[in-house]
Symmetry: C2
Subunit: 325 residues, 2 copies
């Protein structure tokens, strides 16, 4: 492989598509972001992916035909081994889509696929907050709560590639219903959706004057808005944020006991508003985890933000090129 060779990665989301052109060291030469048109179905979405990639190539000053390989990070229970997206709530109409075959035919390049949270875990492990960690967990807290497991420096995928659903550990066996069909999962308690819902409830109950002002001025409640309301003095929101931190800390303690990792990286949009709950999360973890594995672990916020997935797919391509993997 030559250092001057260019690779590409696409992070496909329900709302947005991001494409980058980079070398295998993670240096980015071009990037494009656009709406994914996921609601218009498969053909519209794959068209968008191709257009997004082409725009990133233009930005990088290369021909699409010169790209040596493409990595796709997709939501859903991705079958990474066979390059298929069986289904994903964010991609309506997708059912057993052989996206690797579709894109490699359209673009004439070899294509690799991973679940988006797994890709982001790889990204943070190779280029971000968990750089070089042998045993690392990655949790992404955004609309939902996803995860990825790095074992011995490589992605752990499990029997069919469905491993790493770190948001679907049950921390309250009697807890609220979860989108996965279970109940009391971490995701049901700390997802952006769950947090915003509680914000709305506090407004309706007349307990969050600052949050009410922000909502009235800016529209729908978000975790980021609640973070500002806490700073502005909303006590009920601060108390709730503490509870979110406690929930996350309980999960972190369990993951410390189970995996004895050296690093846990927390990424995703909601974690960027983590000021209001991260201290409580780490304090709770320290109170509840076992002494021996606790001594090994550091909890860090992700460093790559919205590029974790695409950079993770560049890391995936690098492994493929180097190991023929």
């Amino acid at each position: 492989m030559s250092r001057s060779e260019r690779y590409a990665a696409i992070d496909l989301g329900g709302t947005k598509v991001r494409a980058i052109v980079a070398d295998l060291d993670g240096q980015i030469y071009g990037e494009d972001i656009r709406l994914s048109r996921a609601s218009e179905g498969l053909a519209a979405t794959t068209d968008t992916m191709v257009a997004c990639l082409e725009a990133a190539c233009v930005a990088a000053g290369v021909n699409t035909a010169d790209i040596k390989g493409l990595g796709i990070a997709s939501p859903g229970a991705v079958d990474a081994y066979n390059g298929v997206v069986p289904e994903a709530p964010q991609l309506p109409g997708w059912r057993d889509v052989p996206i690797v075959e579709i894109m490699s035919k359209r673009l004439g390049v070899p294509v690799w696929l991973e679940n988006d949270a797994n890709a982001a875990a790889l990204g943070e492990n190779r280029f971000g907050a968990g750089k070089g960690a042998k045993n690392m967990l990655y949790m992404t807290v955004s609309t939902g709560v996803g995860g990825g497991i790095i074992i011995d420096g490589d992605l752990y995928r499990g029997t069919r590639g469905a491993a790493g659903e770190l948001g679907h550990m049950i921390i309250d066996y009697d807890g609220p219903p979860c989108g996965c069909g279970g109940n009391g999962c971490l995701e049901s308690l700390i997802s952006g959706t769950a947090i915003a819902k509680e914000g709305e409830r506090l407004i309706d109950a007349g307990k969050a004057p600052e949050l009410t002002k922000l909502r009235d001025a800016e529209g729908a409640v978000t975790a980021e808005m609640m973070n500002r309301a806490v700073k502005a003095g909303d006590e009920a929101v601060a108390e709730y944020a503490d509870r979110v931190g406690m929930y996350l800390g309980v999960a972190l303690a369990s993951y410390v006991n189970i995996f004895n990792p050296s690093v846990i990286v927390i990424g995703g949009g909601v974690s960027q508003s983590g000021e209001m709950f991260m201290d409580q999360a780490v304090a709770t973890m320290k109170r509840k985890a076992m002494r021996a594995p606790l001594a090994d672990v550091t909890v860090k916020l992700g460093q790559l933000q919205d590029r974790a997935g695409t950079l993770g797919m560049i890391a995936r391509l690098k492994a493929a090129v180097e190991d023929g993997d």
Copy 2:
């Protein structure tokens, strides 16, 4: 390595010590079991281990000096990398004991060490219910709840060898205190100790006539005794057993979502009374786990019973001999 060569393994417990002499295929030629004298401290316990091993050698018709290697399964947060037992509640007075050095000096053979639940996981993976499974979890339900994680056919130990504490996943963030210092861990809810305590409570509350008769005739309540009381018609005990099954099933669902394993093996003394709760555990797991990883998993009872640890250490020796590991 020759097929006729003999290896040995010791499973050290707070109450009993077991030694076997076997070949690397797991064929057992001699065995001895005796009280561990753990309460008398380190010297008494190591003397017992040597005497137990020598008796197993006599039973196998070999000289202790002809043993090619010894594997020790020990309770506690074992440092497998350095051959040290930092501490273990079952081994009073043990503090940073270099058991590998001690035993290899006394016996003149190379010695390997693992945590007992990790050893049992290896045993069931090589010779038992999870034979050949690439990704397997092992849970042992006895006085406490331990575990072991097999990834890619090998033991996953984590950063310092403390990984696999599958009994210390928190399934009720508001649950009862646990021996680990946390609260609401699976162990705090389904260990043999927790189960027997609830049995005593049901007797005191006058709700378990059959269990009362058994306790009066045989002494302290055990899970095994409660299993018989359920069969004899104690409804309150049956209801409680259902709750134990629900707790275990919640943990199984989470482990399915996290690891996407092909097999989960449940071993340990209490699991041998699992009739009263295993159906409920599997039903709960099926109700709460995610669809994709659920399709891959089989839950099995352990096959090796009290020999899982020693046979696991034979598997460990085999890996050491074959890979120079």
